[in-house]
Amino acid sequence: MATYQEFIQQNEDRDGVRFSWNLWPSSRLEATRLVVPVSCLFTPLKERPDLPPVQYEPVLCSRANCKAVLNPLCQVDFRAKIWACNFCFQRNPFPPSYAGISEVNQPAELMPQFSTIEYIVQRGPPAPLIFLYVVDTCLEEEDLQALKESLQMSLSLLPPNALVGLITFGRMVQVHELSCEGIAKSYVFRGTKELSSKQIQEMLGLTKPAAPGQQGRPMAPQDAAPSCRFLQPVHRVDMNLTDLLGELQRDPWPVPQGKRPLRSTGVALSVAVGLLEGTFPNTGARVMLFIGGPPTQGPGMVVGDELKTPIRSWHDIQKDNARHLKKATKYYEALANRSAVNGHSIDIYACALDQTGLLEMKCLSNLTGGHIVMGDSFNTSLFKQTFQRVFSKDFNGDFRMAFGGVLEVKTSRELKVCGAIGPCVSLNSKGSCVSENEMGTGGTNQWKVCSLNPSTTLGIYFEVVNQHNAPVPQGGRGAIQFVTQYQHSNTQRRIRVTTIARNWADAQSQIQHIESSFDQEAAAVLMARLGVFRAESEEGPDVLRWLDRQLIRLFMFHLRRSPFLQVFNNSPDESSYYRHHFVRQDLTQSLIMIQPILYSYSFYGPPEPVLLDSSSILPDRILLMDTFFQLVIYHGETIAQWRKAGYQEMAEYENFKQLLQAPLDDAQEILQTRFPMPRYIDTEHGGSQARFLLSKVNPSQTHNNLYAWGQETGAPILTDDVSLQVFMDHLKKLAVSSST
């Protein structure tokens, strides 16, 4: 048997799943003692180029409250043409189309290598993709110009039959009609007035013609055209929309001295949500919100228009001094939930030097699976490339995005589902496998994930409910089935089914086995998600204390210092931004976020990873740090001097040139693939940007631990934070004392 390492890797590659424990303690009591719950990171749409989808409907268990999908774990009686559900043990006949089934002629879903299988189903007419741009016009001219260009460019990336719409806003909100010839029409809404979805639809004149489109059945694009003048196929309005974007002006209302522009983000979003709700409910759609500043009026306002009142900081929030926070958050949450119910996701592209209100608005993306991208300006490559990457395509030429996903988790009897943490909302489906003990978004075994991409990963938490006195038979296995229904970007409806099983182990007799089945990385990320989830809903210090109690070796040290839990030095928006990405990335990326990777390049050997420690900062090294959000290339003191002296230009120092180039190439590789684009920082010893590195490394040497001073072994960090060493010492002390 392969090592657990290999097993885990294999499972991840095949099923996109990583469990904290790969052997499950067989009773509730034992499971509780293990501290880290049975849980997994699940990537529903993990890219599987080797997995061709099958073109038929899945076979379901006929028991009404089970409906599990036929899978390789099911027992099959080929003669009787009967299969037994491995979750509820119901015996089901095969459907007629399976008449020819036999041991040698098995359908794919019964083959063990198809523990993950994807079905293409025909349900209703294909639904077009919908992209609704919601554009802030209170931007600087330069920014607006850059944004317009990006938007125009994006039109060429969309599939021709995709529907596009445009809403612009500033002091007013304008919904642009795209179908008209001649005069450009738009519907205008006052930016200060909260409107119900019904009012919005009435005002847009959608109430009457929209009737056939209701009942959740999307209309064919041809039919939709006349009924929704605001969402039109790209191929039809391409020119028109390009012109429209070209003519887009900055918000014309004068902004007096000392004021912020009036920005009606809240109303703009509610109009966008209302528009989609009325026209294309339950159809995949992306609302793409581009903002250059905080909402300053109307519902969802985050800060007033007086410049002398700064936007809330963590300090204000802790002092309960953020007047608009609660109201705005509530407003956006309501919007996010409405949007999620209809399967529409909301992206936020916020580019401004100051905060833009992501703290309040984060739920829009978090609950609907939308992206959040944060940048300094629309006129940066960070934004431009990130935005372009939203439309990246897979090996089939399809968008790497899927819509309207519904993830259902089925478990064998001994397990129950506690909840999920990720870009999802609960569908409140209270099946028999739902635990009362909630972790993350709980109380359900179905979640809606409005927008998915191949890296979208949810943390799913389980509870072992088997009682201690009713042992699982020796060799028994627990099974979990993940059923993900979604709309593929090529408009097909698809269902991906992943069924996995793990052995039960008696904690008393097999504690070693259980221990060795522990997946430290997965557990760390899963616990971190729990931490972040709590941090979002509770006060910071409490979460840290909770986390400290849940001991997980090294990662905790960095996690404690990470922006996911620590708000010091971060604005509320930044914290929201970091957390947003943390709870949706897959395991590898999550680990990078928790513990940044540091590579060292020097003449002394090939590039190597080094400890994220101040002692790694040496004058003759180039360091490449990847924190997920930032890529820092740090030239040590000597290297920086050489570079300044221009040695790399000299033919005889070709090797130096290569040394300089190596981290750049590696960085480039990362930049190519990562979404969102990390901030790329090229700095050197003493450079102001070096702080990005210095703030991350373990401060093993600081200005106040003497032995570090003056040594050539690294760079002292000016911080009061404790170093890992101190942390560990403390931890040991605690561990000992608590055990006694």
Partner: protein, 1010 residues
């Protein structure tokens, strides 16, 4: 006889009103009919004097008159007027002689009406009461069939013979130049007079001679003597000879005749010529009558006198009136940075009534007598008469009307105003599109935008424009010049209106010409297929208002609207037209707005200087009473084109629109009337808003708007100083300049009632009364309002009779000379559609007229209430034919007549009109070939046609609204409409005929006197 002059008189007394005998007044006075009826009987019998003159009525089988009389005089005319009367009757023999007599009288009568002549003459003596009494005498003693003869005789019943002899006691005549020609009156003056106008001796107004007044007496009563000859059915016939009662035409013509030199305003208390007279004005210190007309130019000194006389003291002010080209518009005076010089206490502006004292260092205010320092920069020495040396160099010291340049202190928020803006708001609902209104408006605006008001004709207008279309939602347009195409911004949130854009909505026409043209081309196309029938209205005005607010300027909204706004929105209305309420106490509620929303909206509009002009194109009830609230309160106008059809109504609408857009207008105006101590402006009528008791706020004020101001005493006036008034209007000109227009007016004061009665202007009084009454119906039952009017009028006349006229028979109706038309005009007011609607008059029409009249000036009310009716037999260039009285009996079957009311224009064609006439006018000889649907006359190359069209054009040019020409063929169905304007006749809706009303009036007066 001079035809022109006398024709009217000569014309036969019209037919006795058919209704005469009937209880016309029944509704007014229950008791009335009774006496009346009986009376008729005798009256008819009486017939004596009258009988001779009276032509038979076409309609009533009145035996009375004989055609012949006319033959003698003007047979032709007679024919024309009476047509071939199917009259039965009239023993020629009898009549003949009679005729001759009456005729003379007629002539004589003519003299009567002239105010001047009267003074002049000895006339009193002449007075014949006799015939006068005839009709009038409405029975004083109700029951007695005999009816009251004339006053004195009342007691001595029926048997009075005197009439035939016609002698009135001289006393009665005393005063008089009484109109009504008694048969006998003949003598004295007659002869000279025949030449016509000339004859009037140039009596000066001030002449002491007689008191001008007309007296009428009529006696009626059964005249045995006459009864014989004329077998009149006792129940029919009114006895009063229509020719014997004061004729508006005569008065008008007389006034024209005597006015042959410019009217100078220098003399205090001088009544100007009538509004029907063409005259030139020379401003010599008082405002021209084109700006201000007063009801009385001799105000009573005390409140008691005023109360006793009941003559309303009012002025009709038209502050921005357009002057004819030969008169100088008010000069603009700039007093520099400190602004106009004003009295320290009452804040009156510098004017000719300020008395400079102490060598010119101070001046004493003529209004409040306060002494104010003259600022150094304004100092000037006085000459030996105490006048400033520069008096004639400064308009404000020598003229009645002038303007001051206002300083920043006179501006809102102490900021000089922005140039105003015009916003066009066009209904694009189904009806609007279908009727063609939308495309007509859009098409027209393209050219019209070049004619926005401007002060300097050589410069481009600085007025900015904006466009909105709407149905249930509003569409704003961005027409910024830099755009390739206009952009439409739809606002559906009508419950909470706002302006979706700032930049690009209000633009300068020249900067955005191409975009605007493209927009106006596209609007009709865009909505060509609309199915939307519902509209909003409140939000439309709100939108315009918000736009002006956003642009921080005043301006005007032009709203083109079709239907009752029933779509869900503020100001939504329901159909409340309920015919059952007409005539009940609840009727008044129909004239009040049904939602208070519009009142507060109007207030907001006024605060911003947002004037609203409303063009309505209704196919059914639209509730003008409510929709008109904002226009009326903001100094705007309402235009109504019921059942608008592009084909036939386009011309009228476009002409109105052109005129409305181009006419001189001021914005954000405040008018204040200051008066000398003793009287005070207490009440105001017109299109405006008042938030306090003194300031008349007008969001917009154009050259056609008049404001009627009523004055009351709060102290005594002195004969020496007279009564002064100064009307100051602060406004923003169409070029964005803040100005003050000042009109000064001084009138005399009198302690004798007779002086008051000598110097009144009936047309102005009627203007006041009509506005007063039309406002009254908002709060009182219509009937009560009518009664009040009649009552007040009776009191005025009774007071005169009691205090000014020499004692005479109570049965004699004696009218002050300058008020002798009061009854006829008042009757017209009483029977107007507003106060006495016919069955076919909609509530909207009444509300529309009510609002329309509230801002009319005297000339407009005059022609509105007493239409101008011109016989078109012979047309001379340079002069108009003399009008005939508004009565069917004045129409001749063989003639063609033009009738003008200021709102309507009719061409009545007699059934047997001369072929030549028809050929000249219509290009056809056949009556039957005339198309009654035609709205314009064919352009024919003959002098007659040319001149007729010229006349029509000149009429149209005179009026603020374009009059559509309606051709009415005699005995055609449309004639009913036409007849409605023959105001001396009994109206279909029950309005009394002139003669009846006069009788009624007389009775009222007598009741008051007794």
């Amino acid at each position: 006889m001079n035809v022109n002059q006398h024709t009217p008189m000569a014309s036969p007394y019209g037919q006795p009103q058919p209704g005469y005998g009937q209880p016309t007044y029944a509704p007014l006075d229950g008791g009335y009919p009774a006496p009346y009826a009986p009376y008729n009987g005798p009256a008819s019998a009486y017939q004596p004097g009258a009988s001779a003159t009276r032509p038979p009525d076409l309609r009533t089988p009145h035996p009375v008159s004989a055609p012949q009389p006319y033959n003698q005089y003007s047979p032709v005319r007679w024919d024309m007027q009476n047509g071939p009367p199917p009259m039965t009757q009239a023993p020629p023999s009898v009549t003949a002689p009679a005729v001759s007599q009456p005729y003379n009288q007629g002539a004589m009568n003519l003299s009567g009406p002239h105010p001047y002549p009267q003074h002049y003459g000895p006339p009193p003596t002449m007075q014949q009461v006799t015939n006068q009494m005839t009709g009038m005498q409405i029975g004083s003693g109700p029951p007695t069939p005999a009816g009251p003869g004339y006053g004195k005789y009342v007691l001595s019943p029926p048997s009075q013979p005197p009439f035939s002899s016609a002698q009135m006691p001289p006393t009665s005549m005393a005063q008089a130049n009484h109109l009504p020609p008694g048969p006998q009156a003949p003598q004295v003056l007659q002869p000279p007079r025949s030449p016509g106008p000339l004859q009037q001796p140039p009596p000066q107004p001030g002449m002491p001679a007689g008191y001008p007044h007309s007296a009428f007496g009529q006696v009626r009563g059964p005249q045995p003597g006459y009864a014989g000859p004329t077998p009149v059915n006792p129940t029919t016939g009114p006895q009063l000879d229509p020719d014997a009662i004061p004729s508006p035409i005569q008065v008008i013509e007389d006034d024209k005749a005597k006015c042959n030199e410019p009217f100078t305003t220098g003399v205090r208390g001088q009544a100007p010529p009538l509004v029907t007279t063409n005259f030139q004005v020379k401003d010599q210190g008082n405002a021209s009558p084109r700006f201000i007309r007063c009801t009385a130019y001799n105000m009573p000194c005390t409140a008691d006198m005023a109360k006793q006389s009941q003559v309303p003291l009012a002025a009709v002010i038209k502050p921005l009136a357009t002057l004819p080209p030969d008169e100088t518009p008010p000069y603009l005076v700039d007093h520099g940075e400190t602004g106009p010089i004003r009295c320290n206490r009452c804040k009156a502006y510098m004017c000719p009534y300020m008395q400079f004292i102490e060598g010119g260092r101070r001046f004493q205010c003529g209004f409040c007598s306060c002494v104010t320092e003259v600022p150094p920069h304004y100092f000037q020495h006085l000459d030996h008469t105490g006048k400033r040396v520069d008096c004639y160099d400064r308009p404000e010291l020598s003229l009645g009307s002038y303007e001051f340049l206002a300083t920043v202190d006179y501006c809102k928020n102490n900021k000089l105003p922005q140039p105003p803006a015009f916003i066009f708001l066009i209904d694009v609902s189904y009806n609007a599109v279908k009727s063609g209104m939308v495309s007509i408006v859009c098409q027209e605006l393209k050219t019209l935008l070049d004619y926005l008001p401007r002060e300097n004709p050589d410069m481009d207008s600085v007025v900015r424009v904006g466009f909105v279309t709407y149905n249930k939602v509003l569409h704003f347009y961005n027409v910024k010049g830099s755009l390739a195409q206009p952009q439409m911004l739809v606002v559906s949130d009508v419950s909470d209106m706002f302006v979706p854009l700032l930049d690009g909505f209000l633009v300068n026409v020249n900067d955005s010409r191409l975009v605007i043209e493209s927009l106006l081309d596209q609007i009709p196309e865009m909505f060509a297929d609309t199915r939307e029938t519902e509209t909003v209205f409140g939000p439309v005005i709100q939108a315009g208002l918000e736009a002006l607010k956003a642009a921080d300027c005043a301006g005007k909204l032009f709203v083109f609207h079709t239907s009752l706004p029933i779509a869900e929105a503020p100001g939504k209305l329901k159909n409340r037209e309920d015919k059952k309420l007409i005539g009940t106490d609840k009727e008044k509620s129909l004239f009040q707005p049904q939602a208070s929303f519009y009142n507060s909206l109007a207030k907001d509009c006024v605060a911003q200087g947002c004037c609203v002009d409303l063009f309505l194109f209704p196919n059914q009830y639209v509730d003008v009473a409510t929709l008109g609230v904002v226009p009326v309160s903001t100094g705007g106008s309402v235009y109504k084109y019921t059942y608008f059809q592009a084909q036939s109504d386009q011309e009228r609408f476009l002409n109105d629109l052109r005129r409305d857009i181009q006419k001189p207008v001021g914005f954000d105006a405040v008018m204040r009337v200051r008066t000398s101590t003793g009287i005070r402006a207490t009440d105001f009528f017109g299109s405006f808003f008042m938030s306090n008791t003194t300031d008349v706020e007008l969001a917009g004020l154009d050259c056609d708007k008049a404001i009627t101001v009523e004055f009351k005493h709060d102290d005594k006036l002195s004969e020496e100083t007279g009564a002064l008034m100064q009307c100051a209007v602060l406004y923003t000109s169409c070029s964005g300049q803040r100005r003050l227009r000042i009109h000064n007016m001084a009138v005399n004061c009198c302690s004798q009632l007779a002086d008051l009665y000598r110097n009144c202007e009936t047309d102005t009084i009627i203007n006041f009364f009509s506005k007063y009454a039309f406002r009254g119906i908002l709060n009182n039952p219509t009937k009560a309002v009518r009664d009040t009017l009649v009552n007040q009028c009776a009191q005025i006349l009774a007071c005169y009779r009691k205090n000014c006229a020499s004692p005479s028979s109570a049965g004699q109706l004696i009218l002050p000379e300058c008020m002798k038309l009061l009854p006829v005009y008042l009757n017209c007011v009483l029977k107007s559609d507003v106060l006495l609607p016919g069955a076919d008059v909609s509530l909207d029409d009444r509300a529309y007229l009510r609002q329309l009249i509230s801002c009319m000036d005297v000339a407009e009310t005059h022609v509105f209430f007493y239409p101008r009716l011109l016989p078109l037999t012979k047309l001379e260039s340079g002069s108009l034919p003399v009008a005939v009285r508004d009565s069917e009996e004045r129409l001749s079957k063989g003639g063609v007549y033009l009738l003008e009311t200021g709102l309507h224009l009719f061409l009545w064609v007699g059934a047997s009109a001369q072929q030549e006439l028809l050929l000249n006018i219509f290009g056809t000889q056949s009556f039957s070939q005339i198309d009654p649907a035609t709205t314009s006359l064919p352009v024919l190359e003959n002098p007659f046609s040319q001149r007729l069209r010229e006349i029509i054009e000149s009429f149209r040019a005179q009026r603020s609204r374009y009059m559509k020409l309606m051709v009415v063929k005699q005995e055609d169905r449309a004639e009913l409409i036409f007849r409605h304007f023959l105001v001396e006749d009994k109206s279909a809706s029950g309005g009394a005929s002139y003669v009846d009303f006069l009788c009624h009036m007389h009775k009222e007066i007598r009741q008051l006197l007794s």
